[in-house]
Symmetry: C3
């Protein structure tokens, strides 16, 4: 018999008593049954803040620590835990997805309108953002219909006597759901009812078309736009999760909107991965330099930040573009941020629904003025100054401006080549997105220029910014286009 | 002198006595010497379960907690720790890699046949799987020889008076080992002996050709197929490691079989990375919703799962395709899972050794029937239902079916273009894989269609599924092929 | 009211007194003011070793545990904490970036020359390395000027009556800073002064051109080359950070120098990610097999390693190529490591400043001899032998040699095609890098061959090595080149 000595670290388990917030009788009934049938959902909720405190508890916090933004949430929600029924039974009347379930009127989808019961400020900010309009901004813009067909559509081969040709058709709904609508949001609507055999007997539910859909700009059966659970996932509602970069990564990924990859390669992102404890994602309010050595996405784009002295550095916002002055992707050329989240209303100088024309000229209305841009830059500077001296972030902004100009110049070069092709036999301008050359032109602005602009904004990963999707690809793509132009 | 106050967290170190399982005298001798010469190997083993318990100990566990599947492992192995000699000395006779080492008959490779001493059920399941046949499935299929030469072969330039031409030759063994054979497995065989000067004097070992090789479908000197340490790595034999997604990532990576990237971008994978403690990989049996909030690869494809009530949800399997109904990659079109892991025996309607013909028609024999597919779908549903309601996963499966059909349609379009090229001067059908156009055709099914099918199966990352290797690339590739066809 | 029982793990907070090293009066004044204005910097420093111990303290450590390599650092630095002034006030005279700041003569940049006060051995090793010469090696080599213009330059379209043509111009400084110079280093110089309004009044600082720059081969205002903070980041100076693979990843990333991706896919990297605690990055000296189960970059390329018996396995080096025998990237063909970090002095047989000629022939001088290569291989073997038996790493090295030869053969094939193009109308040899075909040729050696060589050196990820950037791309690229040659 061998013997071994092992050095253990003793941790003392302690049985503690924790009183959750009181649950409404309706939600208690939900919980008891669903603990058997969907236990994970109940368990996630049980460790959430919604289970631990009532809205009234939240309102007793000092203002900067409050998560409830309603001055006075209505009774009875105010005085109970935010349980199943408080959300799934909210605003139940007048929407077609409400149904009877064991005597209660509930709906499967919880929408921004429902969350606004306790979080009206966040809902109002979000409603004005590009995220809330993410679906409409592509659906209501005729330019994007052809682009979408070229990207995700169904391409068929037409074989004739001389040579094959390609026909583009709209994508299957399932493909659209897993691509564009997965981020921009789909339309969820009720189409009759379905019966389901369950352990509790046969139950009747509304049949939801276009569901599940996790897109942030979802159109809901109650007519509201948006999906809070795109970022506040599952039944956890955890601020730590909303502040985690991977939460944003689902949509902001290579090659079109590569914020996640750019962040990971930046000085911030590399430390976030390499330095254990570089960011404590839980505190509210959140203090740069103390709570986190490096920011995650939320710090710069959304969260309420305070200094070590408790003074507010930046107010919380759920209009995630509202701290930004320059829009780096979303259209052909970079341009000042639009004032309104509904970008389909913009008209460029050619009266097309785009923020710029094809030479980079700005839409005459609807974009931030230079003064407004400067003001936002100054506000962002207050965040940066928590950790950096002025010359550091001022140099970054100057580089961003120069890089955006250089990238726009590279897009202009591609557009010039594309125009030559449209003017000759090389390309057919009838559909500006469906041919190989046109796809290379689209990639120049929608993937490559986007990438180098974002690298400049968030701190470049030099190797990736040179080779992988960066400047060398921009220049290579121009050479590919040139080879096909004449 | 400055003074600083620091808040520490006290952890009490405790010197505990731990009795490992008794070691056989032979293994004790191994350990003493190898602790000096290959200390890491010994240390890994010492903290493994093989060191902590005897097979007899394991058999005293309740059935669902047993890791030993032999009803009665033979003495003396049964009553000692599973040490060096118990594995490296197992089944020593009748195989050419056994040699004398300080008076013992041992072999360097431990094969599935050796592991079967205690784990015969796992070995039997594995032996019938596509993983065990991973090497033969490409080596015994003449279609793949040309494909392999095109992918990893040595391409030389033949310069003549008119224009250069390219000659493809087989890859160097070292290149094949680092590519195809690295996952599919190589052939390890004995080629004489080698002498090595060691601190213990000059020792003689068999010279192993094709070793080291970590491929899961390795052919071993004892004639057995497979390599348990492909997933149960090193001398750790840790179930936590086999359940970690990165273990699967070595082979299931972009662009051909991108399960790892698809998982990371899925709702499951994003939470796995973002939510600390989302999955406790150690418990046996393993309970969805309690032990893990999100599954890793093993949960859905291999592990024994039980409900919170202790009832079995899914039996453990080491035939990793046996829970699946549709095969999403491995051939040109998606198709029902084959019944047998040896896919080289399949014959399509053109009598080629493939599961489908070039129009997508299924091989008439050897693939699951519709009923068998439905039965597997139902079993998988029991796993999904641990955390989700039916409409969620039923919508996923409907989307999978539609997406597989749409991807197959895109493959058919590429095949139509390729056929036009073969019928004209554009491509030579003698070798169907060696020209640029043919490579684009191969990429259509082996990389791009694979990707979007997997995204549908495991939960799409919308951005990547649209742009990075997804639908936009499928449509772009068709345009590239079209540009080269006539 | 619901009640819940929760199992907590008790951790006892203990208020401990920690005496930091004594701070010089000057640094104390810096710290007091900067704690208000750049708190994060001060806080990072406070938990660093520089704050915890004086150089004299360090010298009392046993030799293998010393981080200070000066035999006797000068007073007064020797006897105080290494605070703000000890670094930012070092060697203040005779350099143009020194300025007056509240009565002290300081400089913003701390250069290798400053660090050499206490770390002269590391500075000397680094000064001879390719890293210190990283900027000069591209700036002083005329071959690379054209390559750089093709990769990151500004490409404009010249529209004339017949067809458009492309003009390449040098990149904007901001683009160069975010690409080549971001890793290779830029030139930081003083250009007058700037005034800044601060909470302490208007202050005057030198205006630094080319700053911030994090490149490892930066040229500093004091004339020194290099940037220790490229790896020892921020004010943390943490050895754990320098030993973390992500620190290297900023520059060693796909597709040109993909060490980070190759490592992650290797057996080492997969375990590093998947096995909790696989590497304790803190110990000094560092013992393979005990402190780490798998090495990080630093273990094989830089760190002082000792065996469990305390004997030195490898001395620490800050010349990161000095343990390597073969240079796998940096030029067209693989070749023996150069003896000197300044590679612009090499001359191939055609008198070009390259380590090989275009057929792979070696420069006659300046590269390691076969004996020197063997000696380095033997030294590396001592590291590998900590965990592996000889046949394992000898097989790896044989595979590396074969793979490098096979990759060089594939580069030669591409070069042959490129030469045919240069000899015909297909390409203009005036600028060897600016056309599409030439870009494909460059990618053959600078991205694709680099990748498969590194995969062989560090342990291949078979799937990526086959498909994603690996051998199948090498063969595909040859087919693309061939299609454009005649």
């Amino acid at each position: 018999m061998r013997t071994r000595f092992i050095l253990l670290f003793l941790q003392l388990p302690v049985l503690a008593w924790a009183g959750g917030a009181p649950l409404s009788p309706t939600s208690k009934a939900c919980e008891e049954c669903h603990l058997r049938h969907t236990p994970r959902v109940v368990q996630e909720w049980r460790v959430s803040r919604h289970a631990a405190a009532t809205p009234a508890d939240g309102l007793q916090q000092p203002p900067l620590r409050r998560r409830v933004s309603a001055d006075s949430p209505p009774a009875p929600v105010r005085d109970v835990a935010v349980g199943c029924f408080e959300c799934h039974g909210a605003n139940a009347e007048g929407r077609e997805d409400t149904f009877d379930h064991f005597g209660q009127r509930i709906h499967l989808l919880v929408t921004p309108q429902d969350c606004a019961t306790c979080h009206p400020v966040e809902e109002r900010q979000f409603a004005g953002s590009k995220k809330a309009h993410a679906r409409g901004n592509i659906e209501n813009n005729p330019v994007y219909a052809a682009l979408k067909r070229s990207l995700i559509g169904s391409t068929r081969v037409l074989l004739d006597y001389t040579s094959p040709s390609l026909i583009s058709e709209d994508a299957a709904p399932e493909v659209e759901e897993a691509t564009c609508s997965g981020c921009h949001g789909g339309q969820v609507s009720v189409n009759g009812v379905r019966e389901a055999a369950t352990a509790e007997g046969t139950l009747t539910f509304p049949r939801l078309e276009g569901w599940p859909n996790r897109g942030v700009g979802r159109t809901n059966p109650d007519g509201s736009k948006g999906n809070c659970s795109a970022c506040h996932g599952g039944h956890r509602f955890a601020i730590t999760e909303a502040r985690t970069p991977q939460t944003c990564a689902r949509c902001h990924d290579v090659p079109k909107s590569p914020a996640w990859e750019v962040y990971r390669g930046s000085a911030h992102g590399l430390q976030w991965a390499a330095v254990p404890g570089a960011a404590d994602l839980a505190p509210l309010p959140w203090t740069p330099g103390r709570d986190f050595a490096v920011p995650t996405c939320a710090a710069c784009h959304a969260s309420l930040l305070t200094g070590a002295d408790g003074a507010v550095i930046a107010e919380r916002t759920h209009d995630f573009g509202s701290r930004l002055w320059q829009r780096l992707y979303g259209a052909i050329f970079s341009h000042p941020q639009p004032r309104d989240g509904d970008t389909s209303k913009l008209r460029n100088q050619d009266r097309m629904p785009l923020p710029t024309d094809f030479d980079g000229g700005l839409a005459p209305e609807g974009l931030l003025s230079g003064d407004e841009q400067s003001s936002r830059q100054q506000d962002m500077g207050a965040i940066c100054a928590s950790c950096h001296t002025g010359p550091i972030f001022e140099a970054r902004w100057a580089a961003l401006a120069q890089t955006a100009a250089a990238a726009d110049q590279a897009v202009l070069a591609a557009t010039q080549l594309q125009r030559v092709a449209w003017q000759t036999v090389a390309a057919d301008p009838a559909d500006p997105f469906d041919e190989l050359l046109e796809r290379k032109w689209v990639e120049q602005w929608m993937e490559l220029a986007n990438r180098v602009r974002l690298e400049a904004a968030m701190g470049p990963a030099p190797s990736l910014n040179t080779f992988g999707g960066g400047w060398s690809q921009i220049n290579r793509n121009l050479r590919e286009m040139k080879a096909n132009v004449y």
